[in-house]
């Protein structure tokens, strides 16, 4: 593996008319590194995630990515077809609401298999086998492979969405509040699964969350956002155990002890 970052974000800004979405954000993400972006609602973390993942056109700044052939590409200079291909092969995007990332009216197996077909696999038997294998890895029983996600619980849907994203062996995953809206017991299971998969597959990930416990469990590095700007960044346990900025201290001190 080359000792180089995978993703480089430089002076990224997005405004919605006079309102600031995110402002002058720069960072690098390395292979295998998990970055958590935290902050309260409206802090700009989802705007940032969408701009970096090419789902939302930034007002200024650049996002470059090291492709599998080691060539750096500026994502906003790629054409739409190239970007789409990147998103369904080398990237994954896990939405807070699984219905946004799944096709609810096709079977679980087809949801996973579809991503494989998108990268050119045409062998039905092999696709099904890989799909079943992935469902197992996210702890969905084989006898549910032909069921539609409509019939799944929230936690199962989220695990299915993760399988759908990981089946093409992406190098980078974006996650927007991956445990939002789930019961705590379901959350714990999902986090444990994500933690295992990320380290086993050496995935790089950007996780947007308002939950500092999720950030602590999943991420190596943390970026705290407020009013669209990054106010503090550093090693996750350093930022959480010794927060330096007033806003980070406020966030950390607002956690309820159980």
């Amino acid at each position: 593996m080359k000792d180089e970052p995978l993703l480089r974000v430089t002076s990224l800004s997005k405004s919605y008319g006079p309102r600031v979405g995110c402002q002058d954000v720069s960072f690098e993400l390395w292979p295998g590194e998990v970055l958590a972006v935290v902050g309260e609602s409206g802090s700009g973390k989802t705007t940032l995630l969408n701009c970096v993942s090419t789902r939302l056109l930034p007002s200024s700044g650049t996002v470059s990515y090291r492709m599998r052939d080691e060539v750096w590409r500026d994502l906003y200079r790629m054409n739409e077809a190239e970007r789409r291909f990147l998103m369904r092969t080398d990237w994954g995007f896990v939405h807070q609401n699984p219905a946004d990332g799944l096709r609810m009216t096709v079977s679980a197996g087809a949801n996973v298999g579809e991503r494989l077909m998108a990268v050119g696999d045409r062998h039905y038997g092999r696709i099904r086998e890989t799909a079943i294998d992935w469902l197992e890895r996210v702890e969905i029983a084989e006898d549910r492979v032909d069921d539609q996600p409509r019939a799944f619980s929230g936690g199962m849907r989220q695990r299915l969405q993760i399988a759908r994203n990981l089946v093409t062996s992406p190098r980078l995953i974006f996650m927007d509040e991956p445990t939002g809206g789930l019961d705590v017991s379901v959350q714990a299971r999902l986090l444990d699964l994500l933690r295992g998969l990320v380290s086993e597959l050496g995935l790089a990930a950007i996780v947007v969350t308002h939950d500092l416990a999720v950030a602590r469990l999943l991420s190596h590095r943390i970026m705290v956002m407020k009013d669209g700007a990054v106010v503090e960044t550093g090693l996750t346990d350093r930022v959480l155990d010794d927060p330096r900025q007033p806003y980070t201290q406020l966030l950390v001190s607002s956690i309820l002890q159980v």
């Binding site: 390395w30 550093g234 350093r238 010794d242 330096r244």
Partner: protein
């Protein structure tokens, strides 16, 4: 061989922004070094900043001033200013840490908690788990607990999982923050033996021990933390 750890003129304070930006000085001018094969002990009353020093050496607390030079993969790295990626690599390969409390993770079994530092270094999971079982057995953790997540364990049981996890690797530097606080005499003795083995293996250890018997048994010298008390300027 380079000195494993050299701390020079390290200072630390906390600024409490939510309390009228009160600045609390913790330590100033912390300077000492650790040799391979010795166990130095931080001495001084509670609140003198012993744990804060250990946490800075592990990258867990930010450092305001000074340097923490670590011999990492044959190079000298200033941990006080290192990038998070470098701190993570130093923790994986060079500096181990046994904290006072175990941070439990839901659903992860004790044996996996202990094996994890080896697995993260690319050691085969089965081998790592076998080593983890040896460590847990040596620390007398009942075998029926090995496959359970430690969240419901007693303080002493969690402490032993923590010690097993910290001692399983061959890190050249090991930081110990009251590793024996909630252990009975038999297990304290095991830890004292384990520390002696680390010393014989050339590991540089820095510890905090409130237990005098343990401290007397392992310490080669005591570093008096009250010498690093912040001056009037910090108030």
């Amino acid at each position: 061989m380079a000195t494993p750890l050299v701390v020079s003129e390290v200072g630390k304070s906390f600024t409490m922004h939510l309390r009228g930006s009160v600045r609390l000085g913790v330590v100033e001018n912390v300077s000492f070094s650790l040799r391979a094969g010795e166990c130095a002990v931080l001495g001084g009353p509670s609140g003198a900043g012993k744990s804060s020093i250990v946490k800075m050496l592990y990258g867990n607390y930010a450092v305001d001033t000074g340097q923490i030079i670590v011999a990492h993969h044959g190079e000298l790295v200033d941990l006080a200013k290192a990038d998070p990626r470098v701190v993570i690599a130093i923790r994986r390969d060079t500096i181990g840490y046994v904290s006072q409390f175990l941070r439990t993770i839901p659903r992860v079994a004790a044996v996996d908690v202990v094996a994890e530092p080896l697995v993260s270094r690319g050691i085969d999971r089965e081998k790592a788990e076998a080593r983890a079982r040896e460590m847990l057995s040596r620390l007398n953790l009942p075998e029926r607990l090995w496959e359970l997540p430690p969240a419901t364990f007693s303080g002493g049981e969690q402490q032993r999982v923590n010690i097993a996890r910290g001692f399983i690797t061959d890190h050249p530097i090991l930081l110990l923050d009251e590793p024996t606080a909630s252990l009975d005499a038999a297990n304290r003795k095991v830890v004292v033996e384990m520390i002696a083995e680390k010393k014989a293996g050339g590991v540089a250890l820095l510890g905090i021990f409130h237990d005098h018997d343990v401290r007397d048994a392992v310490a080669d010298r005591v570093i008096d933390v009250t010498e690093f008390a912040p001056g009037e300027a910090a108030a």
